[in-house]
Assembly symmetry: C2
Homo-oligomer: 565 residues x 2
Amino acid sequence: MAADPTATQLIEKHRPTLDQALETIRSRAYWSPHAEHPKAYGEDAAPEGKAAFEALRGTRFELDQPGTDGWAGEEISPYGIELGITYPHPDPDVLLPVMRAAIPAWRDAGPEVRAAVCLEILSRINARTHEFAHAVMHTSGQAFMMAFQAGGPHAQDRGLEAVAYAFAEQTRTPGEAPWSKPQGKRDPLELSKTFQAVPRGVALMIGCNTFPTWNGYPGLFASLATGNPVLVKPHPRAVLPLALTVRVAREVLAEAGFDPNLVALAVDRPDEGLAKILALRPEVRIIDYTGSTSFGDWLEENARQAQVYTEKAGVNTVVIDSTDDYKGMIGNLAFSLSLYSGQMCTTPQNLLIPRDGISTDAGPKTYDEVVGDLAGAVQGLLGDDARANALLGAIVNPQVAGRITAAPELGEVALASREVTHPEFPGATVRTPVMVKADGERKQWEAADTEPPFLSECFGPVSFAVAVDSTPEGVELLRRTLRDKGAMTVGAYTTSPEVERLVEDACLEECAQLSLNLTGGVYVNQTAAFSDFHGSGGNPAANAALCDTAFVANRFRTVEVRRQA
Amino acid sequence: MAADPTATQLIEKHRPTLDQALETIRSRAYWSPHAEHPKAYGEDAAPEGKAAFEALRGTRFELDQPGTDGWAGEEISPYGIELGITYPHPDPDVLLPVMRAAIPAWRDAGPEVRAAVCLEILSRINARTHEFAHAVMHTSGQAFMMAFQAGGPHAQDRGLEAVAYAFAEQTRTPGEAPWSKPQGKRDPLELSKTFQAVPRGVALMIGCNTFPTWNGYPGLFASLATGNPVLVKPHPRAVLPLALTVRVAREVLAEAGFDPNLVALAVDRPDEGLAKILALRPEVRIIDYTGSTSFGDWLEENARQAQVYTEKAGVNTVVIDSTDDYKGMIGNLAFSLSLYSGQMCTTPQNLLIPRDGISTDAGPKTYDEVVGDLAGAVQGLLGDDARANALLGAIVNPQVAGRITAAPELGEVALASREVTHPEFPGATVRTPVMVKADGERKQWEAADTEPPFLSECFGPVSFAVAVDSTPEGVELLRRTLRDKGAMTVGAYTTSPEVERLVEDACLEECAQLSLNLTGGVYVNQTAAFSDFHGSGGNPAANAALCDTAFVANRFRTVEVRRQA
């Protein structure tokens, strides 16, 4: 169906990348078409990207969207600078019907054209990774290098992964098929059949503050690749990276001969609650959301006209039983706790450590020694301000900062947070992690009417060193945590096959992703597209995984037309 | 993981069938491993099957299930005989935990063993098709040949299809994968990863009165093949076919070394509302349901802890614009309206006919001529009592019989229903279809506050010959019907490519399955497993299609364990 020459060219250009992505989601090997190193983008890319970002500040972000009834936006960077950018505010009564009207041509273009257009969008975003890095940095508070990688190539990988899953699923059934049923001596019954993927309707993607692109791209591209127009509603504090994304998408769509309104932006006025308003519109048939449990639950319960995919809060846990690389374990955990000030949905919160200590290659270690060594490792890692700034980034919003301040009320402080000054951005709020000791005795968490603080998500750089009576008791606490609170990640350190089996069984039964004995350069909070699943979709932390077939298969339906042959 | 010798043998025995099923769901060609002809089952099969059914009458149906707190069941055949069979009534507080406890071994057996066990269950059911045919006949009221085919091989096909989809999806991700990420001059980052499909929990399959096996097997086998125990809650009037299914499943599971409680039966006491009770149990994480819109909607709104797959009511429509085979069209429609007294969720209800008539190969035909010819064709088809009994079967329940009696209140009768005597079962309620004329002028259906009777599902042998102002107006009525009421099937007859496109666009936009110009031996109400989708899952008649990936992909989740390599 790729009659349009532009579409044909896009297929020729991107089909090899799509094929490699399709192969990799099956092999789960390492692969990425998006370079991780800033220098890979050419000598001029860094200054140009920064200049492009600076040029956006203090401007009106024009998108030429129908139904724009005003301008909104008041982003302030976690690094202390005002962005001063305003964005289109939509009149849903105008914009949504326009988006719906764009469906037939996009639907009839077929899965391959849609995939090629999506890959062109990603490819143009990739070419502007430096600009996106600044946009992500000054909305999420991520340090530049992390904003570059997680907000750039890694997010682009997750988008491409979603396109690959969507393409695979839409092409599983052939476009046409003959059918002939023998009837003994009589003529066979014969039909010719066609099968077409049809979209559900308008998809709403509700972005988050911390990873606007990384968490936003899977839903955005899964919906677009399956034929649905996508309305992007960013977090009010992290609009720019998604506004840039929308602009690129609209440009590519228009160039390929499609209605640019297949992707549009919707930015809140203060206290308007635009996400709630849009989520209940009858045109909206798919919603992707990353954020708080309360709003995720609200969406699941109220947006009944839509398929709702949510990533909410969880309580990530690490079981520490024993290790044959004590130094590696401590170093790995210290890094995990520090990266982006623990503001990742995958950062460990609860470290379960047997009260009587653990055995290690460096001899037995008491609970206090493990906690002390971990605290020391974090202090060492972040002792130098330049390194601390490069690793921590800035605190994304006042709520997270408040949790750091309040942490000492939750228990004895094993590691105090300190303020770090940022040399370039004096207004940045930079804080090192805080760790609190907690009692994980069974009676602390078994009773239904009392709940220790460590069983609530405390998003940000606050962790709990939870003393448990034994490793098996710790695994029971892990089960309870997974069942009632959910988790995006579980970690465990053990040299015992029995303990390994115990933890694995808990994760299989409560449906959580497990990292075992990480002591090197891979961290429990990082997942790689095409290989690792982000979340399981089977515990309360998220109702979907990034990315699997279930994430794409219900964003479209297949309409069959059969004719007498 | 197929350590058990029985499991290995089952894989050897059934892998070729599974592979053929996997190939056919991709090619959508005709195929079935289950013979349609009663004689294919051997000379003794017919008397043995009948004797087996007779031997069940008046007995207690023992299943040796834990948590059986009594016996329930009072099925009366639509052919007028009492079955007199009682079945285990469950104490959910005992049975559900036992079912949950069976999960780990079933989960760890892996997708191939589970598929092989499911195929063995289907194969043993297939061998007893004659017995099942009597059970289906005397619960659904289907005539023997239909009960044999639709309740036997066709249902078995749909079960096998679900197993194939489930297997394909669970094996899309490899069980193990190495991962190596280059780090320039440094050593690569290396991990070894395992991926395991884990079930969601107990699946509840709520059966229907008319097609206990055909509509029940997809959900049952999709859930079981993805690792979930299945609690089967049949319709109180159609227990026996599913009770036999549960018995076979339990036997095969036990022989293969698994807990037979992976499949169990739950039969209502009168007015107990057991389905509602079970649907809200926290152990129940998947629900499959076929039946009324009101209970389907209730499940979707209330069983929030579960994935809910529903097939509900719809208003199936045929657009009659023109034809080059008038006789074939009339004959095909007459058969569709008559088969199983229109008691199929796929039977056409509304025939939209232009008020000014249609053009045909037999010359122009007025609205009244088309309606009269169709009425005459039905009368001709069912004029002979023996043939009428063989085609109609019996009226499944008093509600359907009541609708036939009340039909004349809905409009001018174009075809009156008549009572047919059954020679073998004098107590059978056998009725020919009734057709009522209706005015399909736009003002009849456009206003939100008034709704003509033809816009409500009138389940059973009641159809409406709806006079529309023109074919395009008819297509508008089709759109309105699909959007607000949904449909399992849409038919259309036209010789005009423009009209064909119009109808096709309506079906693509409102997501309905379309049969065009059927004039031979394939009927709009029949779908073939492996090739046709039953329902679309995208309009109000059903939220899922039988069978596609979306039907299986969210019944399990994938748990990844990654280890430093």
